[in-house]
């Protein structure tokens, strides 16, 4: 187990990157605290897998260093880093039985037979494949194969970190939930550092202590699920996390009030902004009113998703969402929306501005 430090790390797949655009992974400094479970969240192609492969040593970064407990391993081969990684598509050794598959990483490390047997049994129970241990891995279903891949990662108990690259993509929903629970339990039992790449926010938020959100090759925010929800540091985080995502309004901010269209909205604090200014308000903080205050809006439709209702609104030609509790009545004559002041975030050129006198 180890603390993993990324120092000035960046990577480009081109040999001589000229502009920042050509970097698949933009400069990054980060410590992955020993024993924490991280989720790496972002849309496809934002550099998540690149980052993972650099940590595991499958890829040598173009610049910067990777440190394990302060030891520079930037150019060390995967074997020396003692890392387990599970890939998006199942990798099994076809000609081996399930048991041999699970034992393979241990055998390659010259572990004694009794210990291998014990661990294989244990992992087989975790992935619920005890009955199939002596089957050939060839011919199993995709999710059975992926369970074996997961098992091969989990069978090594002494790893520095466990990396998962969207491992549950091919698994069916029921099994997904169960495996995720198993992974979480594994984390609690052994306290491995775990990094879990996904583009599924539910997966990220339920799995991880800390979520790292990436956008266009850059880490835009690292935080607990609650922080990501309440204080998205970048408009992408607001949009990507939450269902539906955060509403954005072009605004002029002047000290402690903002003007959206013709409406003046009081802000919770004093802001100094420059550049393209926007207000970000999560649908949970948008409320309909039939009074005189607020921004004019018209209801397009209401979707009942079970625990709450999503109200789709039209505000000056743009779609805005609001969330209402299940039992809450929606006034038919509601023509305006108002925001809860604590739910308003101010953005300049997509990055969140903290009110003056506070740090975050």
């Amino acid at each position: 187990m180890a603390k993993i430090t990324l120092d000035n790390l960046a990577h480009s797949y081109l040999p001589n990157p000229q502009s920042e655009e050509e970097f698949a992974l933009k400069e990054l400094n980060h410590d992955w605290v020993d024993g924490e479970a991280y989720a790496l969240l972002g849309a496809s192609g934002c550099g998540k897998s690149t980052l993972l492969n650099i940590i595991s040593g499958l890829l040598i970064p173009s610049q910067g260093r990777v440190l394990f407990d302060g030891r520079d391993v930037t150019t060390s081969p995967t074997a020396e880093r003692n890392i387990a990684q599970v890939f998006q598509f199942p990798v099994v050794y076809d000609t081996m039985s399930v048991r041999e598959n699970l034992a393979f990483p241990l055998k390659n490390r010259g572990m004694d037979a009794a210990e291998i047997k014990r661990r294989v049994q244990k992992v087989a129970a975790m992935i619920d494949m005890e009955a199939q241990l002596d089957h050939k891995a060839r011919g199993l279903t995709a999710d059975a194969k992926q369970k074996i891949s997961l098992g091969r990662g989990m069978v090594r108990e002494d790893v520095n970190a466990l990396l998962f690259d969207e491992p549950l993509t091919v698994i069916d929903p029921h099994m997904k939930w169960e495996l995720r629970t198993q992974l979480k339990k594994l984390h609690q039992d052994f306290g491995h550092t775990m990094i879990y790449v996904t583009h599924d926010q539910t997966e990220a938020l339920t799995f991880a202590d800390k979520v790292v959100v990436m956008y266009d090759g850059r880490v835009v925010q690292i935080g607990t699920p609650q922080e990501l929800f309440e204080r998205p540091a970048h408009t992408f985080v607001g949009y990507f996390i939450g269902s539906p995502g955060m509403n954005l309004f072009d605004a002029e901010v002047d000290g402690s009030s903002a003007r959206v269209g013709d409406t003046v909205i009081p802000l919770d604090g004093h802001f100094i902004t420059a550049g393209h200014t926007q207000l970000g308000v999560r649908p949970e903080f948008v409320r309909l009113t039939s009074g005189e205050e607020g921004i004019p809006a018209s209801i397009k439709r209401v979707e009942d998703v079970g625990r709450h209702k999503i109200i789709r609104l039209d505000v000056a030609g743009r779609e805005v969402n609001a969330v209402a509790a299940e039992g809450e009545a929606i006034a038919a004559d509601a023509t305006r929306i108002v925001f809860a002041p604590e739910g308003i975030n101010v953005y300049a050129d997509d990055w969140r501005i903290a009110p003056r006198g506070t740090s975050a």
Binding site: T78, V91, D94, N108, R138, R152
Partner: protein, 290 residues
């Protein structure tokens, strides 16, 4: 669901039937015809029953040719398959050099059999051939027209030169179809180079390798032109393989009856072996598909 019965549909099969009849069935039947008849010339034939088959089955000449043939096929498979895999494993994975390698390796496959025979015939000559002359100058006693071992070695090297590329190209195609994740997972699992080959590359290549072995086996089993041009089957009968012997018998000695019986048995052997290969391949496929 009820099937529509329409006997006229059989007419649709007719063109194929005709084609196959003229291209395969009728020529084959003439051979069958010869194999059960004898002649003393003047185009007069009489019934001979299965006596030619009986003769052939007890003929040392045929058994010897079959023995040489088996040995030849076994040797070239034992060399070309591992060598082809080895070459494929060491070819560049992408870029200009991989295209270059592919082109260079395809070249021998494009040369007509005759020409290959001629190239090696001249190449191996002690008086003017680069190989023969060099070996001779080095003091190595080499003469493929006189020495049985030299003749065999030359024929085998010629076949390896001509056909290893085929195995290599097929194996290369098999290797290219393995997703990167397999190699990455193997690195994570700390698999040795040998384990990667044994548990990832070889199983993934199994399908194409079966095809390569089948193709190379059939082709070598029917080999005629190259050794015929190179050694003419000699010295003595040392490199007289089945096809060469058959042609000698049918056209050289004009023993049509025995030659016909010989060819039918030759054909049956090839069919039997192809069937075994086919069965093995389809079982492999089924096992994969399950």
């Amino acid at each position: 669901m009820n099937k529509t019965v329409n006997q006229k549909a059989w007419f649709l099969v007719l063109p194929v039937l005709l084609l196959v009849a003229f291209s395969a069935v009728i020529p084959l039947m003439t051979v069958v015809n010869y194999s059960v008849q004898d002649t003393f010339g003047n185009n007069q034939f009489f019934w001979a029953g299965l006596s030619w088959f009986d003769d052939m089955l007890h003929s040392d000449r045929m058994w010897n040719a079959l023995g040489r043939q088996m040995l030849f096929s076994a040797i070239i498979l034992a060399i070309e398959v591992p060598l082809g895999i080895f070459v494929a494993l060491n070819m560049p994975k992408k870029g200009v050099w991989s295209s270059f390698c592919l082109v260079v390796m395809s070249l021998p496959l494009l040369i007509p059999w005759n020409v290959v025979g001629t190239i090696w015939q001249i190449f191996g000559r002690v008086d003017i051939g680069l190989l023969g002359y060099t070996l001779d100058a080095l003091g190595i006693d080499y003469n493929y027209t006189q020495n049985t071992l030299d003749a065999w070695v030359t024929v085998i090297i010629m076949d390896v030169w001509h056909w290893t590329s085929l195995v290599a190209l097929l194996a290369y195609a098999g290797l290219r179809s393995i997703p990167d994740a397999y190699y990455q997972a193997a690195k994570i699992d700390q698999a040795s180079r040998w384990a990667v080959f044994r548990y990832i590359e070889l199983p993934k290549m199994a399908g194409v390798l079966m095809i390569a072995i089948l193709l190379r086996f059939m082709d070598s089993f029917m080999i005629y032109t190259e050794p015929f041009v190179l050694t003419g089957g000699g010295p003595g009968n040392a490199t007289t393989f089945l096809s060469i012997d058959l042609v000698k018998m049918a056209l050289g000695q004009f023993d049509l009856g025995p030659a016909a019986a010989f060819s039918l048995m030759y054909f049956l052997v090839i069919m039997a072996i192809s069937w075994v290969f086919y069965t093995v391949m389809t079982t492999l496929d089924k096992r994969d598909g399950k």
